[in-house]
Amino acid sequence: MPEFTLTSAPPLAGYDQSFDGVKLGAPVDLAIVSIALPLGGEVAAEKAIKSAYGAALPAPGKSVLSKDGLARLVRLSSDAAFVIFTHATPDAEPHVAEKLKGAAYTTDQTDVWSALEISGAKARTALERICPIDLHADAFADGDAARTSMEHLGTLIIRTGGDAFLLLSASSSAKSFLHAVETSIHNTA
């Protein structure tokens, strides 16, 4: 038996609030692993991703759900993607690496980011105050993803539904980011 035990405490763990027309919460146990496509090995890597997740890696700026609906593949750039899924233990990276069988480079990004889910009829109105990306459904459809800057903080925004967005921002500044989103909700309520 080890003498000491570690407890997990992500910066926004347990946050879940409802406002007038907006719900804001930190998803539980969200794991993120980055996938880099080897130069010259892109075809093999995309094939491995497809066979592991039952879905083809989409174009940059897009995301898709895996066939079983449990993982989201987000293409960030020509040679980089994230796979986002629910996974409680700190071994998300080996878990993904195993599925890809060495066809791509993987790096654990779970603790690099802090996630917030914002949803509801007024979610877009609140995000207008910090997000320079056009979030109109015609311009940013379900599954669309963009890395941008909100209140000076690098953010990955993904539309996960009609009025629902997943926001990923650096975990060290998670509290400042939460404050920025809450202020936007307050200012537009």
């Binding site: 963009a146 941008t148 690098g154």
Partner: protein, 95 residues
């Protein structure tokens, strides 16, 4: 300004970092005969045209790609945006 990213579409220039003249891609060979002279020119001498200019922009708050943007410095009109990696290859930087 708006930079029309080849992969991601139009993005606010605020997401980008400006570096300067795209001639910075053309790094000299260290084993060239006049390497010191060439590196001096590479490091210190830049064209500063009033008009069309090829320049390097980095999409730091985006996909981390380096772009070569052809921009008119008088009007800010942007006529071409390319992935710097493709430009570098086209300029013979492949191994």
């Amino acid at each position: 300004m708006i930079i029309n990213h080849p992969h991601l579409g139009p993005r606010d220039a605020a997401e980008f970092i400006y570096l300067g003249d795209a001639s910075l891609i053309d790094r000299p060979d260290w084993q060239d005969e006049n390497a010191t002279e060439k590196f001096y020119e590479y490091g210190y001498l830049r064209n500063n045209p009033a008009g069309e200019h090829q320049e390097l922009w980095y999409h730091e708050q985006g996909d981390r790609s380096w772009l070569v943007v052809t921009r008119n410095t008088l009007t800010h009109e942007i006529t071409k945006v390319e992935m710097a990696r493709d430009v570098a290859r086209a300029r013979g930087r492949s191994k």
